[in-house]
Point group: C2
Chain length 280, copies 2
């Protein structure tokens, strides 16, 4: 089994130094607790609720700078996946996530589905997220709203992900009494239909009036929540057998990926509508 940690933190918008320290301390503590994969929230370096594109740009850091190198060092060989406000080579700003291990930054993913006002602050990514071969298995990435696009989570399964790490900032919304956050239900379904584990790391507290869900959850490849939520600031630990994600056969005659009908989906995916035919 692999020990996975989700560090549900409360970064402060604009406080790069303070947030850097929060993340490093959380990663070190998780590793001390035996974590082999540590997931941090979305935009944990900068905070989330920007008042302007200029504010976001002022908080953006390059992927090859000391900040992510610090995650690698603090991880002491563990895989660390966290969100950061990325300054691109050309001055553009991205809502990104990095996959880091003892060898340094393994991959950077620039969020392709920007939520709401993120569209005012960030350039959308132009590539689906990577799947990185690590010491504990193949780790894919998605960021927050990305989860709501099954096309993306399916793509990670097709690319061989055993675990999808999801740095997120889930705004608290209404839900019926006794129900899980809707984002967790969506992660459960994505896990189940793809037979891939998910580790969603939410953040805690309230930022500029935006309250967060505090809904961090680890979901196994059967689609069941094995850990979470955690109230407030804290670290969720879960031991998950990631090898289960390699078992895509559901029965001798059913397989969650091979039973797809890509030839039927293709026209629908390429065009927004109008390719549906009934038999009559």
């Amino acid at each position: 089994v692999t020990r996975i940690a989700c560090c549900q933190l409360a970064p402060r918008v604009g406080d790069l130094d303070g947030n850097r320290g929060l993340a490093l301390a959380a990663v070190r503590a998780a590793v001390t607790a035996g974590a082999e994969v540590v997931v941090l929230p979305e935009l944990v370096t900068s905070g989330y609720v920007f008042s302007s594109a200029a504010e976001a740009a002022a908080l953006a850091v390059p992927a090859d700078g000391p900040l992510l190198a610090g995650w690698s060092e603090a991880g002491a060989g563990a895989v660390v996946v966290g969100g950061f406000c990325e300054l691109g080579e050309d001055g553009r700003v991205f809502n990104s996530a990095a996959v880091v291990d003892g060898s340094g930054v393994r991959a950077v993913y620039r969020k392709t589905h920007l939520w709401d006002r993120e569209k005012l602050f960030f350039t959308p990514g132009e590539h689906l997220p990577p799947v990185v071969d690590t010491a504990v298995g193949r780790v894919g990435v998605a960021i927050c709203y990305d989860l709501e696009f099954p096309e993306l989570t399916r793509s990670l399964a097709l690319a061989g992900a055993d675990l999808v790490a999801v740095p997120t900032n889930w705004p608290l919304g209404p839900r019926p009494e006794g129900e899980r956050p809707p984002e967790v239900v969506i992660a459960m379904a994505a896990a189940r239909v793809n037979r891939v584990a998910f580790a969603c790391c939410d953040r805690s507290g309230t930022e500029r009036g935006q309250r967060w869900t505090e809904g961090s959850a680890v979901v196994d490849a059967d689609g069941w929540v094995v850990a979470g939520p955690v109230a407030g600031t804290g670290t969720l630990l879960a031991d998950v057998d990631l090898r289960r994600a390699r078992e895509k056969a559901l029965t001798d005659l059913a397989h969650c990926l091979d039973d797809r009908r890509p030839r039927l989906y293709a026209p629908v995916t390429a065009e927004p509508a109008g390719n549906h035919r009934g038999n009559l």
Copy 2:
């Protein structure tokens, strides 16, 4: 609002006449209770657990025969969606669902994702399911295992479905104490990410040793279960505002369908793997 009924029945394998009567009585009772949409289980005409392809073929009926005409008549103007063992023009046998209203059979869908031993008995359909414009809104169809392919449920949303009717036979499987059937979790997620309502009609009892989940559920376009399950044989009634499914905007700057990135998905959908690129 629209009143939706899911008639969780216990057809007997091989008993075409008896099953015909069960379905007609259930449709009539649902309509008397005010139902404007009536959903019946998968293969409600024939039963499900066939011992051979010959047995399935012997129970297959054509879409233009008296059986579906009977559903139309019993529906008295309501929309009836149910599963039947279909005899194609060419002698092939399909696991199909029909959408019927007062004017007769509006569409037939032949299941495209055959589960397990269904592959031994049925020819897979070659078209994604239809969306039918009815008196109560646009009704799409999926059958059982189809739900586990988000490509299909997304296609129904893109084709404008307000409600997806899901005739199903869910084999009972293990699940943690207190959890919903996994298929219901998948329907909730599909409803939420597409903002489409779902009405899943399961069956009851045990057939040739196969116990059914009895998990019928109606899910609204926010992804919440508004009715279900029902124990044993019985009819679930739910009043759902299907117009909510036309509200695809999540905020002024977010939209569950327009925020898709089809240009990024296309290569992944067309090919099974190998089109993923990270930024590093």
